[in-house]
């Protein structure tokens, strides 16, 4: 029973990271590195909570989170795609900006009770399946949405024509350009989509797993999502595995603290991040061995008439 409840909690905790990781996969597949995930998640979390607080409708909150994340990523797109700014610097700036802005704007909302949130929504029939039912199908609506998103994005990337363009633009923008597709348009679309998913990931925290708002409530999950992109080898299905693994460590850590162990809570809090480092080391070794590389043009600006 304990195992099942930990696993169910793992899925709930992993949802936010899964959304952010899927978003970053889209962005990096298009060849743009966005290190602003943490900032976009925070802005999504705040916009989602504030909107829900004002309207009482968590669905409007989720929409606001999408918009906030998308808006912030649009800054990144403008700086890196149109103005040729350094992608690392721009992304870091976005994280700092998102953190500061949400801390400032969110001050009056700290500690307020959520008027509504995405509660557990057992799916009739499916929830009754032994073991799997309680783990997978007694979750909230956003988690169900993330279930659907994983195969959908996989199909989009590997089995559709626009997905082909997405894979191509991250590998060789010059080719995409010479074939008559707009590199800039493709990159704008996926950077903004990626930002929207990161924003939704923030809302999955402030409206579902920990309803409410506190300053810096994402606590580094954006960075973990970025690390998981490498573990996932830019593949949505592997992203789900990674996100739930991380969710599991987080859930276990909470459970241990709740059980009153003698291990220092600071040490337990550290575990998810330690786990991330270990996973990253292992994943990198595997990608090197299997020769799965990052999109070849990741992080490189593209300008047509640039001459070397």
């Amino acid at each position: 029973m304990l195992v099942i409840s930990v696993l169910a909690a793992a899925i709930g905790a992993g949802t936010a990271i899964l959304f952010a990781c899927l978003g970053e996969i889209l962005c990096e597949r298009a060849g743009i590195l966005n290190l602003g995930v943490e900032g976009m998640m925070l802005s999504g979390a705040l916009a989602g909570f504030a909107t829900t607080y004002g309207t009482g409708n968590p669905w409007l909150g989720a929409l606001a989170a999408l918009a906030a994340g998308g808006l912030l990523s649009l800054i990144h797109a403008l700086l890196t795609i149109s103005l040729n700014a350094n992608q690392v610097v721009s992304g870091l700036a976005l994280t700092l900006f998102g953190g500061g802005l949400t801390a400032f704007l969110g001050q009056p909302l700290v500690g307020l009770p959520a008027p509504a949130s995405f509660g557990k929504l057992p799916i009739p029939g499916l929830a009754a399946i032994p073991v799997l039912g309680p783990i997978l199908f007694r979750q909230d609506a956003l988690t169900y949405l993330s279930y659907a998103l994983v195969p959908l994005l996989w199909y989009w990337i590997y089995r559709t024509r626009p997905g082909l363009y997405l894979r191509a633009v991250g590998e060789s923008p010059a080719t995409v350009d010479a074939m008559g597709l707009s590199v800039q348009r493709l990159r704008y679309i996926y950077v903004v989509l990626g930002g929207m998913l990161a924003g939704l990931g923030g809302a999955a925290i402030s409206l579902a797993s920990n309803p409410g708002w506190t300053e810096n409530m994402t606590a580094g999950r954006g960075w973990i999502a970025i690390a998981l992109v490498i573990f996932a080898t830019w593949n949505p299905t592997r992203a789900a595995v990674g996100a739930y693994l991380f969710g599991g460590v987080e859930a276990l850590q909470f459970r241990l603290q709740g059980a009153g162990t003698s291990i220092s809570p600071f040490f337990l809090n550290m575990l998810p991040y330690l786990f991330t480092i270990i996973v990253l080391v292992l994943a990198t070794r595997e990608t090197v061995r299997r020769r799965i590389a990052a999109p070849a043009a990741l992080g490189l600006p593209y300008f047509r008439e640039e001459r070397s």
């Binding site: 089995r159 894979r167 995409v176 074939m179």
Partner: protein, 526 residues
């Protein structure tokens, strides 16, 4: 009828005028060569035609109607496609997927099967066989070029522009390509062929337009011209003739062995074996040419010898001293000069000025250095002396290296490398991307070093250059030395076979004229 017509096209990059009022027209059903030296503006002009660059002035007409291309998409819609020098292919995608990029399609789902069928049919029709389901990284360079051509045909291109297409091919593959181009022209397509090689232009073209310094010189009929006239039109003066056939050392001469490579193996960047048991000897006063298609271990060989890459097994001896595990600095001290493949990456520091680039190997020595400090006056003298001795055309020694033309950058590099009286010179593509005048100068410098008694390892993809300069030629294929032959009287067909990995039995075929012969001795009927 003119398939395409460019009128008074001007294109500038900053203050550099790449095309100055150029006019050019190519007809349906012809192979039209665009001949000119490196930097004459050929590729720029064709990039304008392909919609990649927008002209600053001038018009483009397709089938008589003026068009304004804002992107390659507009050019493709008008049936104009280009096979670029650096292939525009996505390595991780399949052949069919590459063909589908940007193609107006039906629906969102990816249907590769019909595309694969059509590509296979087109491949058969033009003798461009390649597996449509293979991923690009699995294909050889020659096959990748076929993919580029097939993609254009698949997308209905009527005007196909080829940017120096034979540079990456073996002589046999090049002859095959020329046959394909003739077939395509006979089928009613318009083929534009960019090149600076006179022989292949004469072999393939119906008409030839010559560009020099960004301007059109003239357009001539293939029938009504010859090699000499084309050379004069291209360079603007009489060529001194290929440097060839300076007195060459007799093979097996008793000179001291300056470089000895034994059983050398090394890995490439991707961890695959790039060199496998290479055996070489270069004697004092000898030039050993290394032939081979790009990517068969040439770069790795040069890097291992100069200490930039670690050998996995085997031995390198320079002047009798084992340098296999030595650092680049120790190897420089052993008397090795290195002219690397990418002069702007490994050879020079483009953002430093000329004198700083010139002292990179010598700055620790007296009198350039005085303890911790540099001696400005001595460095100035040293730099001025080298710049004038090696004829580097530069505004001053304080100019940035990146502002020089390719040829002058290469001379600058040679000035630094050759000034220390090296015992061994490793030269990788020393004349690539360099104009004819500088090429001549570089050839003379290398020959002078040989006469002085240096050993020269000359790595090049240009067989003519190797045949003209080398005493012996070794062919590298997949990291192995296939055979080493005396350069004098070497058979191009045999070398081409070796470059393609054929004739592993070695000397049995040696000297037999090949019926598939290289372009150089090929006579294409018109």
């Amino acid at each position: 009828m003119n398939a395409v017509e460019l009128t008074s096209v001007t294109k500038r990059f900053g203050s550099v005028v790449a095309n100055d009022n150029v006019t050019f027209a190519a007809q349906v059903g012809e192979v039209h060569a665009l001949l000119g030296e490196n930097g004459a503006g050929k590729s720029t002009l064709m990039s304008v035609l392909a919609g990649l660059y927008r002209p600053d002035a001038g018009t483009i007409a397709v089938n008589g109607a003026v068009q304004h291309f804002r992107s390659p998409r507009d050019a493709i819609a008008q049936g104009i496609g280009m096979v670029y020098q650096h292939f525009m292919l996505v390595d991780s995608l399949t052949v069919a997927e590459n063909a589908m990029l940007g193609q107006a399609g039906h629906g969102v789902r990816l249907h590769t099967a019909p595309v694969e069928r059509e590509l296979a049919e087109l491949g058969q029709r033009y003798g461009l066989a390649v597996d449509p389901r293979a991923r690009i990284w699995q294909l050889s360079v020659g096959e990748q070029q076929r993919v580029e051509i097939l993609r254009l045909l698949y997308r209905g291109a009527k005007v196909l522009v080829f940017d120096e297409p034979t540079a990456v091919l073996t002589p046999q593959e090049a002859a095959g390509l020329i046959g394909t181009l003739r077939d395509m022209a006979a089928d009613g397509l318009c083929i534009i062929f960019i090149s600076h090689k006179l022989d292949e232009v004469l072999a393939v073209a119906d008409r030839i337009t010559v560009l020099r310094h960004g301007r059109t010189v003239t357009t001539v009929e293939r029938r009504a011209t010859n090699r000499h006239e084309l050379a004069r039109l291209m360079v603007g003066r009489e060529l001194m003739g290929v440097v060839a056939d300076q007195p060459q050392a007799v093979a097996g001469d008793a000179g001291v062995v300056n470089l000895e490579v034994r059983g050398l193996s090394a890995e490439g960047d991707k961890g695959v074996r790039a060199l496998q048991g290479v055996e070489l000897q270069v004697r004092s006063g000898e030039i050993l040419g290394i032939a081979g298609v790009a990517g068969n271990g040439q770069r790795e060989l040069a890097e291992v010898i100069t200490g930039l890459r670690r050998a996995t097994s085997g031995e390198v001896r320079i002047g009798g001293q084992d340098t296999t595990r030595c650092s680049p600095r120790e190897i420089v001290a052993a008397g090795v000069a290195h002219i690397p493949e990418d002069r702007n990456g490994t050879g020079l520091i483009p953002s430093l000025d000329l004198q700083d680039n010139l002292i990179l190997k010598h700055y620790r020595q007296q009198p350039l250095a005085r303890g911790l400090f540099l001696n400005g006056a001595a460095i100035g003298n040293f730099a001025d002396r080298l710049l004038s001795k090696y004829n580097v055309a530069a505004p001053s020694r304080a100019a940035k290296a990146r502002l020089l033309s390719g040829g002058n950058q290469q001379k600058l590099l040679l000035a630094r490398e050759l000034s220390g009286q090296p015992r061994l010179i490793v030269a990788v593509h020393p004349t690539r991307g360099v104009d004819v005048g500088a090429t001549e100068a570089i050839h003379h410098l290398l020959l002078a070093q040989r006469s002085r008694g240096a050993a020269v390892l000359l790595i090049s993809e240009d067989l003519d250059e190797l045949l003209a300069l080398s005493d012996r030629i070794a062919v590298l294929y997949e990291g192995k030395v296939m055979d080493t032959v005396p350069a004098r009287g070497a058979d191009v067909g045999y070398l081409g076979l070796l470059m393609a990995g054929g004739a592993q039995s070695g000397a049995a075929d040696h000297g037999r004229p090949m019926d598939t012969g290289g372009i150089i001795n090929q006579d294409v009927a018109h």
